[in-house]
C-alpha cells in the first residue's frame, strides 16, 4: 500500500471510530468525547493560524469565550433556536477577530502573541463587569439540546452526533481551503513574507483573514461548548484555556488537519487521568507528560503516525507525486522567518 492510501485509510478509520463512539460508551464518556470534538474545532482553527500561517496567538480562549457567551445569551435571553446560534457565534467571532486583526497586523511574532495574551487576560474580567447581562461570576445555565423524539438516540448520543456533524463540516472546510489557491497563499506567507509578496500575495489581507477565520472557528467551538456543558462562567475561559489550545496543536502536530483531534484528546483526557493519580499533583503530572511528549514526539501525534506510515510503506513503491507537500514539511519554522518556499 502506498503512503497516500495508508493515510486515506487512516482518516476513514478515524471517521468510523468517531461514528461508533456514542454506541460504545456510557453517557459520561460520550460527553467527554463530545468535548473532544468541541476542542478539536477550536484547535483546528488555531492551527490554521499558527501552523499554516505562522502567526502565534495566546488568546484564542477569548474568542472561544466570545462564541460561547454569544450562543448562551442568544439561547437564554433571546430564545434563538440553538442550532442557529452556531453560525451566529461563528460570524460574531469572525468579525471580532477581523477587527482585532486589523490593528494587530502591525504586530508580528512575539508582539502579536502578547497582544492576544492581553485579550485572553482581559475577557474574563470583562464578562464579570457586565454582570447585568452575563450574570457575572455566577455564570449562565443554558438548556441543553435534547434529542428530537423522531430520532432513536439518547440525549448524549444526539449531542455527540450533532457536534460531530458540525465538526466534520469545519474539518472538510479547512481541508479544502488548505488545498486551494488561498491555502497555498496562506502557507507561502508563513514560509517567507518577502518571497510571498513578490508573488503578488497581499500579506496584510491574507493575515487578517486567517486571523478572523481562526477566531471564527474558535467561536463555533464556543457555541458547541455551550451545548456540551450547558453552563458558561468566566472561570471556564481563563488564560489556561488559550495555552491548552496552543499546547494541543503542538501535541497533535503543527500544520496538520487531523492533528487537532489528537490534540483535543490530549487536553481532555490527560488532566482527568492526572487528577485520578493524585489530585494535589494534577498540574505536575500534566506538565510532565507535556514535556515528555515534546521530547519523544517533537512532530506531534501526526508526526509519529507519519513515521509509522513510512515504515509500513517502505516497500519499493514508486515515489508519489508530491501532492500534499505541506503535510510533510517539518512545520516548526518560527513565525515570519521560515524556510523560503521551495515549490508551490
Amino acid at each position: 500500500m502506498s503512503e497516500r492510501k495508508l493515510r486515506l485509510a487512516g482518516v476513514w478509520a478515524l471517521v468510523v471510530l468517531a461514528l461508533l463512539v456514542p454506541f460504545l460508551f456510557g453517557p459520561y464518556r460520550v460527553g467527554q468525547f463530545t468535548l473532544v470534538l468541541v476542542y478539536a474545532v477550536a484547535i483546528l482553527g488555531l492551527n490554521l493560524l499558527v501552523g499554516y500561517n505562522g502567526q502565534i496567538s495566546l488568546g484564542h480562549g477569548a474568542f472561544f469565550a466570545l462564541g460561547a457567551y454569544t450562543s448562551a445569551l442568544l439561547i437564554e435571553k433571546a430564545d434563538v433556536p440553538y442550532l442557529l446560534t452556531v453560525p451566529i457565534a461563528g460570524v460574531v467571532t469572525f468579525v471580532g477577530g477581523y477587527l482585532f486583526g486589523v490593528p494587530a497586523l502591525r504586530l508580528r511574532g512575539l508582539y502579536l502573541a502578547l497582544g492576544t495574551l492581553g485579550l485572553a487576560i482581559a475577557l474574563p474580567q470583562l464578562i464579570k463587569r457586565f454582570d447585568g447581562l452575563t450574570e457575572g461570576t455566577q455564570g449562565l445555565t443554558v438548556e441543553q439540546p435534547t434529542s428530537p423524539s423522531w430520532l432513536p438516540f439518547a440525549d448524549d448520543q444526539f449531542l455527540y452526533l450533532l457536534t460531530l456533524l458540525v465538526a466534520a463540516i469545519m474539518f472538510v472546510a479547512a481541508w479544502s481551503l488548505m488545498r486551494s489557491q488561498a491555502g497555498r497563499a496562506i502557507k507561502a506567507v508563513r514560509d517567507g513574507e518577502i518571497p510571498a509578496s513578490t508573488l503578488g500575495i497581499n500579506l496584510a489581507s491574507t493575515k487578517t483573514r486567517v486571523f478572523a477565520l481562526s477566531a471564527g472557528y474558535a467561536g463555533v467551538a464556543g457555541a458547541l461548548y455551550v451545548f456540551a456543558i450547558g453552563f458558561v462562567a468566566p472561570e471556564a475561559f481563563t488564560v489556561t484555556v488559550s495555552l491548552a489550545f496552543l499546547a494541543a496543536i503542538v501535541v497533535g502536530g503543527l500544520a496538520t488537519i487531523v492533528g487537532a483531534v489528537f490534540g483535543a484528546l490530549f487536553i481532555e483526557f490527560v488532566p482527568v487521568y492526572a487528577s485520578d493519580v493524585n489530585d494535589a499533583l494534577t498540574g505536575v503530572i500534566y506538565g510532565g507528560v507535556l514535556i515528555l511528549f515534546m521530547y519523544l514526539l517533537p512532530d506531534g501525534a501526526v508526526g509519529l503516525l507519519r513515521r509509522i506510515g513510512k515504515l509500513v510503506a517502505r516497500r519499493p513503491a514508486a515515489p508519489e507525486p508530491e501532492e500534499e507537500e505541506e503535510e510533510r514539511r517539518p512545520a516548526v519554522a518560527p513565525p515570519g522567518r521560515g524556510v523560503p518556499a521551495g515549490k508551490t
Binding site: 492510501k5 486515506l8 485509510a9 476513514w12 471517521v15 468510523v16 461514528l19 461508533l20 454506541f23 460504545l24 456510557g26 453517557p27 459520561y28 464518556r29 460527553g31 474580567q125 464579570k128 457575572g136 461570576t137 455566577q138 455564570g139 445555565t141 432513536p152 438516540f153 439518547a154 448520543q157 456543558i229 450547558g230 453552563f231 458558561v232 462562567a233 472561570e235 471556564a236 487528577s275 489530585d279 494535589a280 494534577t282 498540574g283
Partner: protein, 409 residues
C-alpha cells in the same frame, strides 16, 4: 474512490448494527444506583486546589466522620464510600464533576458540594436527574427558598439571611440606635447578607449610613475602608471573605476607627483571618457561630469535641483546630442520621428523611437543632449565637438566637 465508498458503507452498517439508541433505564422498580447491601456511594466536589483550597478541610472533616462510622459497622451494615473530586472552585469543573459522579461513578447522592456559584451551576442538572443534592456547603438563602422548584437540593448551615437577622437582633438589644457602615463583596454572597440585614432592620432605629463594595478580584479594600471610616457610623458590618476580612480588620485598627466591628461568620476563623490580621487588631470583634470552636478552651472537655479530635487524628491529616473540619464533620453526621432514617434504600426515601428531620448534632452548640419539615421549612439550621473575640479566643455571648425564616416563601 471505490475504497472510500466501501468504507462509508461500512460505517453506515456499523451505525445500524450498533442498534441506534441505547436502552434507557426506566428507573422504576429496581433499587437506585449507588446503594447496595454493603455500600453507599456518596459524591462530593470541593476546591482541593486553587484560591479557595483552604476549604478542603471540610472534605477531610466529613471523611473522618464517615471513616468513624464505617469502623463502627457502617449505616445498617452499609459502608459509606465518599468519592471526592477537585473543582478548583471553578463552576464549569463542578459541572463536569457532577456529571462524572452521577453518570460514571453512579453515586447514590451528592453531598456537601462546596461554593455558591458551583452549586448554582449544577443544581438544575442534578434536579433533572433526580439525584439528592444534600447539605450543600454554602450559606446562600436560595437553597431553602423554594423547595418545590428544586426538591432534591437542600443546604445545611444557617444561611446569610438568618445570620443577618441575628446581627440585627443583637444590635437592636445592645445598640438600638446604631449607625452602620457596611463593606460587602459585590456578588451573590455579599448581596444576600446585605439585603437580609436591610430587611431585618426595617422597623428598628438602626440605620445604614454608608455602603462600600469590592470585587473578589480587587487586590485590597483600603480605599473603601478609608471612605467608610470618614462616615459618622458607630458600627461596622464587615461582609467579606477571609482575605478581605483580614484586610478590613487590619485597616480598622490602623485607621484608629472606634466602632463596634461585626465580622460575618465566613471570616471569623481565628486561624485564617484573625491571626493574619493580628490578634491585637482583633480584640472586641463580634461575630456569630453555630458549632463548637475546636480552637478555644470552652469545649476541651466536651465529649463530642473529644470524639471529633480523636477521629480526625486517626483518619485524616487535618489540623484539629481548623474549624472547617468541624463543619464537614457536622454535615456528615447529619447525613448519616438521614441515611439511618431512610425507610427504604432509595433516593426518594433519603430526601423524605432529609426534609423531615429534628436532630441534635452533638458538635453543634447546645440549643441549636437541625430541623426541617417538608416543603414548609427547607432550612436545616436557623439559629446562631453571638461571639466576641477577647484575648486569645472567641467567647460566646448571651443565648442562642433563633432566627427562623418567616413563613411563606
Amino acid at each position: 474512490m471505490r475504497r472510500s465508498v466501501w468504507v462509508l458503507l461500512l460505517a453506515m452498517a456499523a451505525l445500524l448494527i450498533a442498534g441506534c439508541g441505547r436502552d434507557e433505564e426506566d428507573g422504576g422498580g429496581e433499587a437506585d444506583p449507588g446503594i447496595t447491601d454493603e455500600e453507599i456511594k456518596i459524591g462530593g466536589s470541593y476546591p482541593f486546589s486553587g484560591p479557595a483550597s483552604a476549604y478542603r478541610s471540610i472534605a477531610e472533616g466529613a471523611k473522618a466522620y464517615f471513616e468513624k462510622v464505617n469502623a463502627e459497622g457502617g449505616v445498617d451494615g452499609r459502608e459509606i464510600n465518599f468519592i471526592t473530586l477537585d473543582d478548583a472552585y471553578e463552576p464549569p469543573k463542578a459541572v463536569q464533576n457532577a456529571r462524572r459522579l452521577i453518570q460514571q461513578e453512579q453515586v447514590f447522592a451528592l453531598f456537601n458540594t462546596l461554593g455558591t456559584p458551583n452549586n448554582v451551576a449544577i443544581w438544575d442538572y442534578v434536579n433533572k436527574q433526580e439525584v439528592p443534592h444534600v447539605y450543600v456547603a454554602t450559606g446562600a438563602s436560595l437553597w431553602g427558598a423554594d423547595p418545590n422548584s428544586h426538591p432534591w437540593t437542600i443546604g445545611w448551615q444557617p444561611d446569610y439571611v438568618t445570620e443577618s437577622q441575628v446581627y440585627a437582633d443583637y444590635l437592636d438589644q445592645e445598640k438600638p440606635r446604631a449607625k452602620v457602615a457596611v463593606l460587602y463583596q459585590n456578588d451573590a454572597f455579599g448581596e444576600d447578607l446585605l439585603n437580609g440585614f436591610k430587611d431585618a432592620i426595617k422597623g428598628t432605629d438602626i440605620e445604614i449610613v454608608a455602603e462600600e463594595s469590592y470585587e473578589v478580584t480587587d487586590p485590597t479594600v483600603s480605599s473603601q475602608m478609608a471612605k467608610l471610616a470618614n462616615s459618622d457610623a458607630d458600627t461596622f458590618l464587615n461582609i467579606t471573605t477571609p482575605k478581605f476580612g483580614a484586610q478590613a480588620i487590619a485597616a480598622d485598627a490602623k485607621l484608629g476607627w472606634d466602632v463596634l466591628h461585626i465580622i460575618n461568620n465566613v471570616s471569623a476563623s481565628k486561624l485564617l483571618v484573625l491571626e493574619p490580621a493580628g490578634l491585637d487588631a482583633s480584640q472586641g470583634l463580634v461575630s456569630t457561630t453555630y458549632f463548637k470552636d475546636p480552637a478555644g478552651p470552652d469545649w476541651e472537655d466536651d465529649a463530642a469535641m473529644k470524639e471529633y479530635k480523636s477521629a480526625v487524628g486517626k483518619y485524616s491529616r487535618l489540623n484539629p483546630e481548623d474549624p472547617f473540619g468541624v463543619f464537614g464533620w457536622g454535615a456528615a453526621a447529619t447525613l448519616v442520621e438521614a441515611l439511618t432514617n431512610m425507610k427504604e434504600p432509595t433516593r426518594e426515601a433519603l430526601m423524605e428523611a432529609v426534609r423531615n428531620m429534628q436532630l441534635k448534632v452533638p458538635i453543634l452548640l447546645p440549643g441549636i437543632e437541625v430541623k426541617t419539615s417538608g416543603t414548609q421549612d427547607g432550612y436545616p439550621i436557623e439559629a446562631m449565637q453571638i461571639q466576641r473575640f477577647e484575648g486569645e479566643n472567641w467567647k460566646l455571648v448571651g443565648d442562642v438566637i433563633q432566627a427562623p425564616h418567616s413563613g411563606g416563601s
